[in-house]
Symmetry: C2
Subunit: 216 residues, 2 copies
DNA sequence: GAGATTCGTTAAACATGTTCATTGAACGTG
DNA sequence: CACGTTCAATGAACATGTTTAACGAATCTC
């Protein structure tokens, strides 16, 4: 029983072939999905394009949705990595606008797919739900850090709750993105910017009787 | 051609029967959906429960998703109507908490269905997308009005952008709801409350150099 | 190296959402 | 009332996602 532990590189002919077909299927799926959209894409057509049978596709990826995630998860991961990397110093609102624009671009670049992509990301099953949550968590942490730094710079008040602010950012981002893919709003980036602006500004009256630090 | 205009009540035997069948299907669908969930529900089983053939179900409701919407849209509408009705005067945050709790209850009452229900509402096709948007629009207007009133009472600063605040509320609400149905957060109502709190409070430093009325 | 075993692949079977031609009763018309 | 028309309802056919038994080549064991 010379068991190799999970996700370890294999060297045999069989393993190599398997990896190759897996990649071929993935590529065929990505092309087909982006060409005709998720629902219209046909597993037998994807299989044919990859030169395998339909059964093989599902042997590698348990079902159609998993195939979608497998085909496009890495691209989003890479997009996020780049977005976080190239943030620069700038004021907080500029940093967030850049982030919003970059991630929005990921969806905009796949018009036939953006709706389903967002839908199936937000409502994924395990194990993709966990991966997606981890992705979001990474960005969430980064935003919390940005907020802390902005606080240190004096852009935000001291003692800001970075995590809560991160949650607010995601709320705005996804709300705008959903509105956009549903055709209800044409300019998601601008919408996120306006919402963030109001969030940073606050709405309580300047001369409120209640002191700044009000908690129930 | 004695054409009756759309959605006018019909009196003939045929029309009556059709309406009865439609209702029977709707009831069977609602029961079956809430019992086993959307994806696991089977059109032929629903049809059998309603005492008709599978074809008849789709003759009345174009496809499975439309059947879901037809079966549950009215309940949400009614829930929203009641929620808006029983708001009372109270401070803005209390009003919004009550609203959040009521609408959340609608989903909580259908544990097998809440995830799909939210998913298919947010990403519905026409004509349900339009109906859902109209529903949301109604609540949006109501919230904007609440914000104006709060502003008039001195709870919020004068000249508050009620519509933008409404968008922020929906952002928070749906973010928390999605987190909840995905199992990522156990207490959506509390989360919305905290986000609203931060939104109302704002995050800019009290002694900011930039004046209150700052636009890009 | 020969036999046993594993496992990637396949094709056929299956489940289920959807389409469609057919039917017969309700309906309108004279 | 007799006729043609409409249309709700049907069930079979279809499309497609998914399951499964079987095959055969790679791998393992001795």
């Amino acid at each position: 029983m010379s068991n190799e532990s999970k996700s370890q590189k294999q060297t045999g002919v069989r393993a190599t072939q398997k990896a190759a077909t897996g990649q071929a299927v993935l590529e065929a799926a990505r092309e087909e999905f982006e060409r005709v959209g998720f629902e219209a894409a046909n597993l037998r057509a994807i299989a044919a394009r990859a030169g395998v049978s339909a059964g093989t596709v599902l042997h590698h990826y348990g079902d159609k949705r998993e195939l979608l995630h497998a085909a496009l998860f890495d691209d989003l991961e890479e997009t996020l990595r780049q977005a976080l990397e190239g943030l620069g110093p700038g004021p907080l609102e500029k940093q967030l606008s850049a982030l919003t624009r970059t991630v929005f671009g990921y969806y905009q670049r796949r018009p036939k797919l953006s709706r389903t992509l967002l839908k199936e990301s937000l409502f994924a099953d395990e194990p993709w739900a966990g991966k997606f949550t981890a992705q979001v968590g990474g960005v969430h942490g980064a935003i919390a850090r940005l907020a802390q730094e902005a606080s240190a710079r004096g852009e935000l008040r001291p003692g800001v709750d970075g995590a809560l602010f991160g949650a607010a950012y995601f709320s705005f981002f996804y709300f705008a993105l959903i509105s956009w893919v549903q055709g209800a709003h044409p300019a998601p980036v601008a919408m996120v910017e306006r919402l963030i602006g109001q969030h940073l500004e606050g709405l309580r009256p300047p001369s409120s009787l209640s002191p700044r630090r009000k908690e129930r």
